[in-house]
Symmetry: C2
Subunit: 406 residues, 2 copies
């Protein structure tokens, strides 16, 4: 058993209950396990209206120029610009109104609305400030230069231009563009389907317990990362729920929360070892260090701690990364980041990656609570978090850190 | 008719078709109209799992301390710390295992799991590295200080502490916290319900036209701003659809897109004037200047232009602001902002607020296309946009601007 990444499966080798973790896997090794096992899912077709926020299966490119023809960029009268030379209020040029579908006659003009194709022979649009209809003719009182008011074929897009990249979700105005190009269906990556088993409250905790916090939070986290919760069992025995999830059809990933620690009822790692292989249990992370991961029936299973803040942190680092990778998203933390200066010392333990909830006070970062006991309340009051690498014992005031913002 | 904010209702005064806008309302006045008419909606109760992303009707505060009692912060043995003084591997202290529900006997210890209430009389938790069970007793091989491993009552939250503010959406870990405090239902503001009428394609444009782009985009925009689309009519005659929306039950706002300009078929302003009152039509904004707004049957109606990029910009400034205000959100643009330096001149028209699509090139902002004709493709290729105030004719290279990021 090298650094704990491979314990022999079975209750004996995996049972750290009442003993404690004597070795822990580094966060890097746990991330590497996720990266090795989270294979990008296949493609599905969706309507363009449902494509917002999805990842294209392949980069999307324009099939043709857009607009396909020269067209009016504004409402007005389509003209041959050369006939307007010298026009003024004192010397108006008179043009005869004709149908916009016909090529422009000599001395003719056609009323067009913005977005309509230009009549053949027209090269400019006169706005209504420069051209007013008087019966069957238009009085032009100002000249117009060739090209004015005209949107050229291909001006917005040339054939082959990128419409949406295959590495980030389709943005809403990109979906609008696809729709305006006549694209009805888009091939996007399937949503990762998560089978979620949330351990119920522990007895005697005196309050509603951790388990109740996980359901709403994990569902929102999984959806934020592009996944869907196919089944959510709350309060089920984790020992029963894990094999049930592994055996259920239609899931890409099983996430179980709670019962991962060293207490007598912490049966989740045992259940995974019995159902398949517990590859990692115990990670040098605070909070969230009792997380585990493994495979059962060919399905990846991630065990998250029961403490809500630990669950949140371990989800973000490991389970969320798995979901994001399955769905073809950027596997990194999805939070917006910014550089910030530390205002009050951030304490961390050497050898552990610490996820520290922080608030901004006068633009500087200050820790909330301590890593172990801040609880979800510290995250609820936080502006974001700072990740302290294992090699550091924290950050002194004045240090520059990356703030992951909520 | 002062600066055009109040035209006498009726086809005569409102019909700018084939004439053009001879006066335009400033963006500020249009925003002020939105702010006057968008009243915060009432409250509804939702389950805590559905509260993520919703705005609390009132600030949420903790009703009691959390945790309510001193409890174990980790798995281990609950002890009176003073009995462990002097304990070592050579001189272990032996404690008798008892039930955690009973007050701690002298010389007793109880196994507790993280999150469980501390037995009366206990003041510290010994981890399994310092305490191992041997039959009915526990061998303690290291001393523990009072308070170690204990999460104090109220350590996470004192009664009255803020759980979620009433000005921004409930974050997912806040919902988790609410759930863990035993809160099942949350009073949140109702979702603004939008009746959406999207004008169909114009004939002769040679391609799928603007109207097709609006449905997916506007639905996604409205949902991003916390609203729901109750009815969406695409391709309907705007002249028919506006009165139908105004008469429909259960909408808080009607948004109609298309047919707002100066072309012969631009009937949306007329339809609003006939159904009620067209208060504003024509705004000093590019793109999006043909937008309008008014009231009909007591319901606000916002008219957005048919050009997709103009529609997007006018939605963001006016319709989106209306939706955000109805739902109690920050009415400002919802995009993350950052300061950036202009790399290539941004051209704008004095007297108009210009919304300029830009990309970042080597960290500096460069315009994409021109405000009038960039089309949705310019937004799809953009990293964000810059808003140029009406008083300026643009920004020179080196100027510092606020970038609204996509």
């Amino acid at each position: 058993m090298s650094v704990g990444e491979r314990r022999p499966p079975g209750a004996g080798g995996n049972d750290i209950r009442l003993r404690g973790f004597d070795d822990r896997v580094t966060v890097e090794r746990a991330l590497a396990w996720v990266d090795r096992h989270a294979a990008r899912l296949g493609a599905v077709e969706v309507g363009v209206a449902e494509s917002v926020g999805r990842i294209p299966a392949t980069p999307l490119a324009a099939l043709a120029d857009y607009p396909p023809v020269d067209r009016a960029g504004e409402d007005g009268y389509a003209v041959r610009s050369d006939v307007t030379v010298g026009a003024s209020a004192y010397n108006p040029v008179l043009l005869r109104i004709q149908d916009a579908a016909d090529p422009l006659h000599f001395g003719g003009t056609a009323l067009v609305a913005a977005g309509e194709a230009l009549p053949r022979g027209a090269d400019a649009i006169l706005g209504f400030d420069a051209a007013q209809a008087v019966g069957p003719t238009v009085e032009v009182i100002a000249p117009v230069a060739a090209g004015m008011g005209v949107e050229r074929a291909g001006q917005q897009l040339h054939a082959g231009a990128s419409l949406a990249s295959a590495v980030r979700p389709i943005r809403l105005h990109e979906a609008g563009l696809l729709a305006s190009l006549g694209i009805d269906r888009v091939s996007v990556l399937a949503r990762p389907r998560v089978w979620l088993a949330v351990a119920g409250a522990k007895p005697g905790a005196g309050a509603r317990a951790a388990g109740d916090a996980h359901g709403p939070m994990l569902r929102a986290l999984i959806e934020r990362d592009g996944g869907t919760v196919e089944v959510s069992e709350t309060g089920a025995s984790v020992r029963d729920a894990i094999p049930r999830g592994v055996g259920a059809p239609g899931a890409d990933l099983v996430i179980a929360t709670g019962r991962t620690g060293t207490g007598p009822d912490d049966e989740a790692p045992l259940a995974l070892a019995e159902a398949g292989e517990l590859v990692i249990h115990g990670i040098a992370l605070r909070p969230g260090g009792s997380s585990g991961m493994g495979l059962a029936g060919g399905l990846p299973v991630i065990l998250l701690p029961g403490d809500p803040l630990a669950c949140l942190c371990a989800y973000e680092l490991f389970a969320g990364r798995f979901v994001r990778r399955l769905g073809g998203r950027d596997p990194g933390l999805p939070h917006a980041t910014r550089e910030a200066e530390v205002g009050r010392k951030i304490v961390s333990a050497v050898g552990f990656v610490d996820v520290c909830q922080v608030r901004l006070v006068a633009g500087r970062v200050e820790p909330i609570g301590v890593a172990e006991f801040g609880g979800l309340a510290s995250a609820a009051g936080a502006d974001g978090f700072v990740v302290v690498p294992a090699a550091l014992e924290g950050y002194a005031p004045g240090a520059r850190v990356t703030l992951y913002t909520y």
